[in-house]
Symmetry: D2
Subunit: 419 residues, 4 copies
Amino acid sequence: MKKIPYLIKNVDLAPAGRQRTAWAAREMPVVGSLRKNYSRTKPFQGLRISCCLHITSETANLVIALKEAGAEVALAASNPLSTQDEVAAHLVRDHSISVFGLKGENERTYYTGIRALIERQPHLLVDDGADLIATVHRYKSLAGQILGATEETTTGVIRLTNLAQKKLLLFPVVAVNNADTKHLFDNRYGTGQSTVDGLLRATNILLAGKVAVICGYGWCGRGIAMRLKGMGARVIVTEVNPLRALEAVMDGYAVMPVKAAATVADLFITATGNTTVLSWETIRLMKDGAILANAGHFNVEIDLATLSKKALQKTRVRPYLDEYLLPGKRRVFVLGEGRLVNLACAEGHPAAVMDMSFANQFLSLKFLKENHPLSARVYPVPPEIDQAVATLKLKSMGVQVDRLSHIQKEYLHSWHLGT
Amino acid sequence: MKKIPYLIKNVDLAPAGRQRTAWAAREMPVVGSLRKNYSRTKPFQGLRISCCLHITSETANLVIALKEAGAEVALAASNPLSTQDEVAAHLVRDHSISVFGLKGENERTYYTGIRALIERQPHLLVDDGADLIATVHRYKSLAGQILGATEETTTGVIRLTNLAQKKLLLFPVVAVNNADTKHLFDNRYGTGQSTVDGLLRATNILLAGKVAVICGYGWCGRGIAMRLKGMGARVIVTEVNPLRALEAVMDGYAVMPVKAAATVADLFITATGNTTVLSWETIRLMKDGAILANAGHFNVEIDLATLSKKALQKTRVRPYLDEYLLPGKRRVFVLGEGRLVNLACAEGHPAAVMDMSFANQFLSLKFLKENHPLSARVYPVPPEIDQAVATLKLKSMGVQVDRLSHIQKEYLHSWHLGT
Amino acid sequence: MKKIPYLIKNVDLAPAGRQRTAWAAREMPVVGSLRKNYSRTKPFQGLRISCCLHITSETANLVIALKEAGAEVALAASNPLSTQDEVAAHLVRDHSISVFGLKGENERTYYTGIRALIERQPHLLVDDGADLIATVHRYKSLAGQILGATEETTTGVIRLTNLAQKKLLLFPVVAVNNADTKHLFDNRYGTGQSTVDGLLRATNILLAGKVAVICGYGWCGRGIAMRLKGMGARVIVTEVNPLRALEAVMDGYAVMPVKAAATVADLFITATGNTTVLSWETIRLMKDGAILANAGHFNVEIDLATLSKKALQKTRVRPYLDEYLLPGKRRVFVLGEGRLVNLACAEGHPAAVMDMSFANQFLSLKFLKENHPLSARVYPVPPEIDQAVATLKLKSMGVQVDRLSHIQKEYLHSWHLGT
Amino acid sequence: MKKIPYLIKNVDLAPAGRQRTAWAAREMPVVGSLRKNYSRTKPFQGLRISCCLHITSETANLVIALKEAGAEVALAASNPLSTQDEVAAHLVRDHSISVFGLKGENERTYYTGIRALIERQPHLLVDDGADLIATVHRYKSLAGQILGATEETTTGVIRLTNLAQKKLLLFPVVAVNNADTKHLFDNRYGTGQSTVDGLLRATNILLAGKVAVICGYGWCGRGIAMRLKGMGARVIVTEVNPLRALEAVMDGYAVMPVKAAATVADLFITATGNTTVLSWETIRLMKDGAILANAGHFNVEIDLATLSKKALQKTRVRPYLDEYLLPGKRRVFVLGEGRLVNLACAEGHPAAVMDMSFANQFLSLKFLKENHPLSARVYPVPPEIDQAVATLKLKSMGVQVDRLSHIQKEYLHSWHLGT
């Protein structure tokens, strides 16, 4: 084993991590085919890639593929609670990849990882929430050699777009989140299922018959709403956007202000990308026993600071489940300390959706390198990449689609054909 | 009654049309509020507006609102089978609006109506399928005074975009279809429900347990799929676009080539905007008793010409339901002569969705007038219009949404806040 | 044409009735196979069968099958609004079957039909709601030759069970309604779909986003709830039975008392088999524009008598849709005069479910004849009949099931096998 | 701590068990109210109750309630894999209840527990799968003092009914499984959700887009089918009963023989109560990577014996997930060693449904005691108990239902009211 820097829990956990990574690989045929193809041509030869991602078995498959395609890869955790320690061990021991992250790390360790990613003078960045890119922008002198970056999340893309609008962005960024094969799948089907999974693992409550509030009806929110409805819950949606609110109504959900929902619901899940969505003013209206969880990227959607201050007592009643005793003897329960419930309480997105997100990551990095230099803007994923990922995925599932006939292609390009 | 030109079935049907229009008005509060507001300020005073739309009770509410806002309005049928004759009578007799169209009219009458719309030298056009605009482009000398046009359908927008790309477009067109409050609602919830309605009225078959093929997984297709699944059918989707195919798979539908679906399904519905989707090669593979319907704009999706040629016999077995006897004693049934099944066999989109589409029409016409001259391109509906329509609609339903707090607005515009 | 007594609208409508009956026959393969088999052996030779049923194309297929199996059949309407006049004509002219019923008949005509059924001294009765059987019990002298009867509905079975408990029942009755292949299918999938169909034909309102109250969560109620949810409505259930209420909660519906639901809903559908479910006290709480319909057997579930008395004005706004103007300028709309909405406003159950109900009718009549004399009780449909109907139906759909292996049969009969 | 016999993993796990039991108690308000009421009157004073149940936090709440109602209670595991060791510790240490069971115990330990339950000469038995009752029937001399027993599962009721039909049953048994508040809820909503939960914890695969086969469309099977559909899977049902097969078709599922399903599906779940449902002949037809799980009571539904013999290699790839390498390089994966997937891989039924099952258990034991002696038959749960449980449950959820008015009660008991 080559000597590399790393900061992980225990390198001896590698065998379990290897198995877990292999299990994920079964569900990641698209990344698998990229790995196979590009291990020969090695398009990333000579490049350092720094990844700030959730350290999971799915991420492992991406960074291994990048390494086999020629890159020197390092990986740091994008969230203090989401690291799978055995996977970190597997990457360090079996693949000699630098990893920084351990489940439950504190903030200092978290930023140590991010700093390590920057100090190695990477050529390409892969980010999840834009903490890595934002940090680079605080230490601009370190950004010189960077060809570009990719960003995985809605939250991160919003931050980077703000940065670009203020003309402060230093290098091109591909908004991987906005690829159709990413956000239409990962955010909807991935977050939808894994949020249910996190809820069940943390609480084991019966969802049928429960009243659940989903704050936010973006792609994540509608995925969660769809799945909770599919499990028999009665769903209420809260929104700030009238168009989305109207869609939620038409999809059969009740829509109301969050304070009105507070008094009638059993369960609250935030998925807005915004802050203080469940404020103390809202929490204090809730029924005894209400359960709160966050499925948005950052742990700011539930105002835990104020809740902690107001609570008489806080008790851990199950792993990742805290009871807050409020004045008046009412209790509320918070899952995973308000962090991403699907990562903190379950295993994050299923491998099958990460397969598409990460295939977009891989091909977007290749695009950044091949098209260097690009001006410092936020770019969409090129549509050819999106199509290629979808086509590879369908193929791996054995699903066939139709092709346009000659007459159909012609028809689509005409304007004079009518009634 | 002012003397105006018209070509309709029977002006004495007006009382029934008045009642039907009033019933639709109950479900059209947004158009109702525009009508009320602008009947005072009359923004269209002195303008001639020519509308080529389905002549239904919903359209009646739009054209009445335009007239009360000062316009001189004329209306011709955008489809030979969709006219509600009593509504036409109501518009002519009670509102002195020129109407051209009668249910079941032939092609000659159809184009007579379109010509009449053009010859009155309109300032604004409202189109549904782009037949009116396309005809104007054949007789360019008549286009001089035209300020602009709006287009209601996906199909029409595709035609007009082709025209614009070829630099042939003569005036600005607003793609009303592309407004979120139009295509997300009208195409999905409207077409979804009314296609089921058309199927039931035409056949009265039990949908539960039937295998239904939906060709095309655009907004219309997914609306139809969702509703047929909601009625207990087992849905197969066919697509040419891998991304949409993948979404259909993830939404729980079987996806396969149309020829594979042909041999196992009971029911086929096209919603692609393309031609020859159910070709003779596909139809000949179908089971005895298969039912075919089209929910796309034009009657070209089922290849009826070849089917008619190959069939040994054609019999009308119920209104809008024809049996074709094929060689080998198999029979297939075609609904509404392959025209839009929701309009031919039922009453078209429910008023509640047309309310939003037509509010976009009204405000887009106002936009064209107020921003004249605009260059000859295809324009999206301005987002303010979209938001305004959504907000008015929610208000009419008594649904309230949240507002962003100060701290939330600030958060959304920042880039340095992180983990 | 043999000279037979009849009372119908117009015998010249026969051709349309023939076509409609043939269309239903396509979806009734089980009755079709009984008709084919027993037209040879004629098990009902020499018997007079009197049927009080909805006069529809599905019923036509049953009575034709009974006639071809040797019976002399007469048919009277079981509901004044449900008769398909052209089907009545077809039975009279083409099959020489006595029919009494015309759409919209008054009460006198209705009982004329029932009396005619009794006066011909039938051997077997087929009833739908138990009006025929109840009338026979008022004129007991006419019951002497009756071998037995069958009853189609939940409502009728309740009435007959009450009669039997009071020791007043004069002959055996088979509760066809209680066959699994009847009530699990006809009540749930049949009523579910056809109630939606009736709603759409009568109102053409958009169901997505509407709040709908279903009164009663029996088989009919849950069928309607399931389909309205499938069309995008938000469903509230009202119940008197705690078990059913709990099931509705777990199925994801809101459950509340009808008066609480009255103030928030757009749409109300009764399916309880009871009276005065929507009382004036409830109706007066409803929102302006509320729509009321009944899917239960008798027109007693909505208290129309009191509503009519309290209303300032009643106007027919569409066919089968009446507006009642209430004090305070609010309006409510009632469908089909409070009669079975699926029959009054649409075409009743789809043929595919009536196929199973009527196959049970046919085989239960055969059972009554072959097992005569039976004591005067209410009998369930023999399980062999139920199984036979299910097996024939699956076969007609091309669906195959597994068979128990030898080892599996043995396992199911053992008690000593354990962990 | 009183000296009592027990055989558990580690008594020091008690604190974690106490917390887990308290968490379950939150969702078990009906058992909670029985515990509260009967801790005063102590109806079981002087009686020994032996329970063979899954040792979970929900069961803990039942046995504590029984003890507080005066009984001397002992508990043994009804399944070798389902024991929550910390809960066992809590019952022993904090409640002085004899417990026999540890997660992963072997068959000898399993029967040691059952023997211990018998040798203490119990007055009442509570069984889950009928292993305890069956063992008593092998050692008849020990059955003298037994007043009766209750049985929790479909499987157990089938065994006991066979025993009764052979006139071998020694004492009365209440079929708690058959209570509506048990099997309609526990089997459907409980098994439905917890099977999904087990699947996700064991595999973390994306369910959306997967083809899942459910063997058996009883209450468990339809619960699983409903939830998997709700998670986006495409469901195929296999059945031996034509009625259930027909219901599955009408509910929108594909139905086919298990061997036909074997070649197309990704996932197989058995829920039949029968043996060898997934035989080697079926397994050998499956696609590479197929996943097999059992949700039926006993581990006999998947023929693991033959599979193990035919497999070239068996590897544990994740906890409770074994890979079998088959000839031809195909692999199949088996969850939880073919034992109840919801108990082996997740936490079993959610407390909210066990609340109702166990309230029925409690009240049925009380019924057996109060009505002693009863003849040796299998009894249904008395309907008053069922109603009482439903009413208590609704009350705890804050759900209100309607009451029949005087006029409605009268109507339901009449027979002469008609059209």
